[in-house]
C-alpha cells in the first residue's frame, strides 16, 4: 500500500485551483483561434478578440480569467493500493480548495441554497470519487461557473424517442439558453445510467479535452453530427450571431433501464477551465 501525505494533496489541489483559473488550457485556445478565423461577422470576431485579450491579460496580471471562479468540482480516481496520511482524501481536497481560493484571490461562490449566506471559503467542493486499480490518485479539477451551469438540464425521455429525441432536446436547450451561458459553449451530454448518473456522465464528458472525440467511433460520429446541427442555430459568440455557438460537443453513454432513457445536458461557458494532477 502506497502512502501519500495529506500536505501533498492539499498543495497540489490549491495550486490547481489557482492556475486553472488564470490560464485557459491550450486545447481551448487552439480551438478558439480556429473558430475566430472561420467567423465572417465583425461582432463574432470582436468577441473572439476580447476572449484572447482576456486570456493574455489574465496570464500577465495574475487576475482570474473570469470573476466567476466557480464551484470547485473534482473527479477523483483513487487507486485501490494508495492511502492518504494525516486526514481523509476528502478533507485534503477540501483544505486545498480553501487554500487555493483564498491565496489566489479567487471568488468564493458557495452559499446556503435558501438563506444565500456565503460559506466564505468556496467549500464544500463537489467531489466525485471512483475507485480504480493501481497506487495513484488522479484529481481532475474544474472551475464550474454558475451562469452556464444554470442553463443545464436533466430529463427522462421515453426509449422510443431515441437519438432523434436526444438531438432535439439538446438543440432546443442550447436555443433556449441563447446568449445566457456565455457562448461559444461546450455541451456535455450524458445518456443512460439513471437519473443522477446521467448528470455525472455529462459532467465527466466536459473533462475530456477539446477536439478529443469519444473513443467509440459511433459516439464520435454522433458528437460531430450534433455539433454541426447546433451551430446551424446561428446564436454565435455571446449571442451576437455567428457560426460558433458551440465549440465542442461531448457525449458519454452507458446502459440504462429498459424503461428509461435518461438524458443530461451540462453546458460549459467559453471560459472552460480544467486541470489535472496525478499523485
Amino acid at each position: 500500500m502506497r502512502t501519500i501525505k495529506a500536505e501533498t494533496v492539499i498543495d497540489a489541489v490549491a495550486k490547481m485551483c489557482v492556475s486553472a483559473n488564470r490560464y485557459l488550457p491550450e486545447d481551448v485556445r487552439k480551438r478558439f483561434e480556429e473558430c475566430a478565423a472561420a467567423e465572417d461577422s465583425a461582432a463574432a470576431k470582436e468577441v473572439f478578440r476580447q476572449i484572447k485579450e482576456n486570456w493574455e491579460l489574465a496570464e500577465k496580471s495574475g487576475l482570474p480569467l473570469c470573476q466567476d471562479t466557480g464551484l470547485a468540482v473534482y473527479i477523483v480516481d483513487v487507486g485501490e493500493d494508495v492511502q492518504v496520511e494525516g486526514m481523509t482524501l476528502r478533507e485534503a481536497i477540501t483544505e486545498g480548495t480553501r487554500k487555493g481560493y483564498e491565496e489566489g484571490y479567487l471568488r468564493k461562490s458557495s452559499c446556503d441554497p435558501l438563506t444565500r449566506k456565503n460559506t466564505g471559503d468556496n467549500t464544500p467542493a463537489i467531489i466525485h470519487f471512483d475507485i480504480v486499480p493501481g497506487d495513484r490518485i488522479k484529481i481532475t479539477f474544474m472551475a464550474k461557473g454558475g451562469g452556464s451551469e444554470n442553463m443545464s438540464r436533466v430529463t427522462m425521455l421515453a426509449p422510443a424517442q431515441g437519438w432523434e429525441g436526444i438531438k432535439k432536446y439538446v438543440i432546443e436547450r442550447v436555443a433556449e439558453a441563447g446568449p445566457n451561458p456565455c457562448p461559444p459553449t461546450m455541451v456535455g451530454i450524458g445518456v443512460g445510467g439513471t437519473f443522477e448518473y446521467s448528470a455525472l456522465l455529462a459532467k465527466k464528458s466536459l473533462m475530456r479535452k477539446v477536439g478529443e472525440p469519444s473513443p467509440d467511433p459511433e459516439i464520435a460520429k454522433l458528437e460531430a453530427e450534433l455539433m454541426e446541427d447546433i451551430n446551424k442555430l446561428g446564436i454565435g459568440p455571446m449571442g451576437l450571431g455567428g457560426k460558433t455557438t458551440v465549440f465542442d460537443v461531448k457525449i458519454e453513454m452507458r446502459p440504462c433501464h429498459i424503461a428509461s432513457l435518461p438524458l443530461a445536458v451540462n453546458i460549459q461557458c467559453h471560459s472552460s477551465r480544467h486541470e489535472e494532477v496525478v499523485l
Partner: protein, 184 residues
Amino acid sequence: MAEYSLTTPLTDEDMVQLKAGDVVKLTGTIYTARDAAHKRLTDLLDKGEPLPFDLKGSVVYYVGPSPAPPGRPIGAAGPTTSYRMDTYAPRLHSLGQKASIGKGKRSEEVKQALKDNKAVYFGATGGAGALLSMCIKEAKVIAFDELGPEAIRELTVEDFPLLVINDCHGGELYAVPNRKAAGL
C-alpha cells in the same frame, strides 16, 4: 452602428439616441449589484428607507467581482447573467435607473420598462473578467459588506466597453436562434 462616449449620470437625451448594436465607451461612476443586493434594495424601498446610492441617472452593473489582489482596485469583473435581476429591474428603472450592464436575455417586463423610462440594457463580454477589470480605476464597498462578492460597490470606470443590447425604442441585438436550420 454608431459609437458613443458617455459619462455618468446618464440622461434621457443620452438614452434616446442609442440603438441596439451601438458601441458605448462609458466613463464615470457605476454601481455593482447582483442577486442578494437587488433583494436588499427592494426591501429598503418596501420599508420606505433611502437607498445606498442615488438611482437618478444611475448605471447598475450586474457583477460579483473576485477579490482585489495587492496593487489592484478590484479583481476580475465581468458581467453575470441578467435574467435573475429581471424581477427587480422594472421598479428600479421607474425610480430613475438609466441603464444596467449584464449579459444574456431580458424579460418582456424589463424591455417594456426600458421603453417606459427611456433606459437601455448594455451587454459586456461575459467571461472577459480580467479585460474589463482594467477599465475599473477605483472600487469601494458602499453597502451590504457582509454579502462579500455580492456587496454594492461604487466603481469609477474609464472607457468601459459596452454594446447596446436593448434600446428604449424596442430594438434588440441578440440573434434569434434559427431552429429550422438546426432541424427542430
